[in-house]
Symmetry: C2
């Protein structure tokens, strides 16, 4: 049957992380492998109240087909939130999507022809790699450091080739946890301003800052070329699958056509619930609670790493988000560590899937958002033992 498939899908492999998560589902395993928000922080009661109020007030209004662009009052709340952050976004430039993952798919669909070049962070978000791979993009990886992307590499890519897109997660990046400094952002913007390359600022974790200062958005530095992706998955709940794209007018027209052909519109019922939840509750207060918990969990993980990991193992220190990035001594493959770690009932994601065409790397991702402090300590201790044994 294989000859019947499209070329685009034949080149995409099933997610390696997905396979790892299947291994890690054993409840006796301590898993730092996932990328899940902490379920104990879901605003269950407030969402239940919002849902009930809506059913009582608006009954059948919340259950019908709706517009492709998304529920207007929800988009207006997104505009207001950007305004608080100093960004002036027009409501017509917002499209509600099924999480920001669909934003990536729609952008791939309307922008990428086979062989088009895409600049991608390395290590970079696997979901973005997969999305663009479906449209047969060619990747130009640019290395991620503690303060952002490597500007020399970026200059070289921009000089020697012409890219449709650059994909970035400048705040608390997945997988490396780092944030771009303002200086790095300015340098990236300057570099791209000489090109026609769109810059995607994917910002699912931006509100989850537990240290340091907020940074400038690319939308301010490179307004004409920047596309923003946002998500309610990390600040409210992921199960609603609601996010959004901000894109300039001619591009938005194409995105709306692609969204309509793709699934007509996003879940209307949940857009209404989310909107009701946001007007009846203080989201900033809720986010503060999440930030306080994640900040504590990250600290516990860092302290445990200092206590239990061999000194040769280093890590990048995140100021927010959900991930911490570990580098092993060069000779040690994270895949080898993974196999031994599973025997000791602890899981993580080896670095490999976050790179284009590089294998047996000495890096790995640890998630701290969905694991309780005691369990974090125990898991890092187990992992430390594995590392000591291997080194």
């Amino acid at each position: 049957m294989n000859e019947l498939f499209s070329n685009r899908i034949s080149s995409v492999s099933p997610s390696f992380i997905r396979e790892i998560l299947k291994v890690a589902v054993d409840p006796s395993i301590i898993s730092f492998a996932g990328g899940l928000p902490n379920r104990d922080l879901f605003p269950v009661e407030a969402l239940q109240k919002a849902t009930n109020d809506l059913f009582n007030d608006s009954g059948k209004d919340i259950l019908q087909y709706s517009s492709t662009e998304g529920y207007l009052p929800l988009r207006e709340l997104i505009v207001a939130d950007y305004k608080n952050k100093g960004l002036d976004i027009h409501v017509d430039d917002i499209l509600i999507t099924n999480g920001s993952q669909q934003g990536l798919d729609l952008l791939g669909k309307v922008l990428i022809n086979e062989g088009d070049q895409v600049i991608i962070e390395e290590p970079g978000y696997l979901g973005a790699i997969q999305s663009f791979e479906v449209y047969a993009a060619q990747f130009n990886p640019v290395t991620v450091h503690q303060d952002g992307v490597d500007i020399n590499q970026l200059e070289e890519i921009v000089t020697s080739s012409s890219s449709k897109l650059m994909y970035t997660v400048p705040n608390f990046q997945n997988p490396a946890g780092i944030s771009y400094s303002n200086e790095n952002r300015r340098a990236v913007a300057k570099c791209l301003s000489k090109t026609k390359t769109f810059l995607i600022e994917d910002n699912p974790y931006g509100d989850l800052r537990f240290a340091g200062e907020n940074k400038i958005s690319f939308k301010t530095l490179l307004p004409e070329q920047t596309i923003l992706l946002g998500s309610f998955s990390k600040t409210v709940v992921p199960g609603f699958r609601l996010g959004w794209i901000v894109a300039p007018k001619p591009l938005m027209d194409k995105l709306v056509i692609a969204k309509q052909a793709g699934d007509l519109h996003s879940n209307y019922f949940c857009q209404r619930i989310l909107h009701r939840f946001l007007i009846d509750n203080d989201l900033q207060k809720h986010i503060k609670k999440i930030v306080s918990v994640y900040g504590k969990q990250k600290q516990v993980m860092e302290d445990a790493i200092k206590q239990y990991f061999p000194k040769e193992v280093t890590y990048l220190n995140p100021e927010g988000g959900m991930f911490l990035w570990v580098t092993l001594p060069e000779k040690l493959s994270a895949m080898t560590v993974f196999d031994k770690a599973i025997e000791q009932k602890v899981a993580f994601v080896p670095g490999d899937p976050f790179y284009i065409n590089k294998r047996d790397l000495n890096t790995l991702r640890l998630n701290f958002s969905s694991v309780d402090p005691d369990v974090i300590k125990e898991g890092i201790q187990r992992l430390g033992k594995v590392l000591h044994d291997l080194l």
Copy 2:
């Protein structure tokens, strides 16, 4: 900016129906243009109860990220429903999608290379045309009659070319309202059995039968090549955006990869609500209520057509579903009628968008599911006056 778009999106035009619906949004207009289920039949109370019970019992469990394939117990209910209809479907062959529209997009994504041929009903479902157009399919239209597709035309297409897909809505087709007879289905299956063409049986209206007998599924007649698409939009609610694909194993593997890269998974919260609703309520009883109302509305429309339309105007008589298809005398363009009808405050969809490359046709689609009987009568009377004036 246009040179930056992908070739695939540049060739797709915004939906003509969408533009018409914008005109028809004026509340003083009687609209037969939409394709909406009747909102008065949404099971609001039962859904509210299901949601509340779930929040009370399962709280945070219903709000987290979930599996790409969809909620297993919901897929098991779909299997059970097929079993009642005499079809033996394995739960692993079902993928939950954002309505069956997303099923079309995923199938286009994993099957269609630029220029691949797709057999499509003419008139045919605009959403399918749009979805496959995005992947640059070439269409082979086959004419729809009262009893199904034109077998001679189909034989000719199959003999002279090689198609990846054939797209069908064999029950209460959109837009023509007709159903394929068992004889027609057998002839289609025989014709395709000599090919490697996949047959898509899209069945959003299949349960909404108010006259005649159920027909054989293509899954029985052509099991290896048939892909089923289903939807809860017409039997429960459209706002949840939940449907499904049934596809054989190697194809399903690719669809799951495409779904994962596209939006990770469908709305989990609504999958859980829908599942709870389905186990706590009698869906067949609910469907009977819908069928009784739609059957009555269709009868009122038919009676009014007989009373008010000129004798030269004919129509196809649907045994279920939501649409009735009208043919005007050959000289009269439905677009001309549309402009005059809007002046008389009544709207419908002219036939043009349902055809590949044909314009100024003398056909039109009337929707009867979402308009109350009195209003149907008044609207058909107005439209009859316009037609009499023009003829």
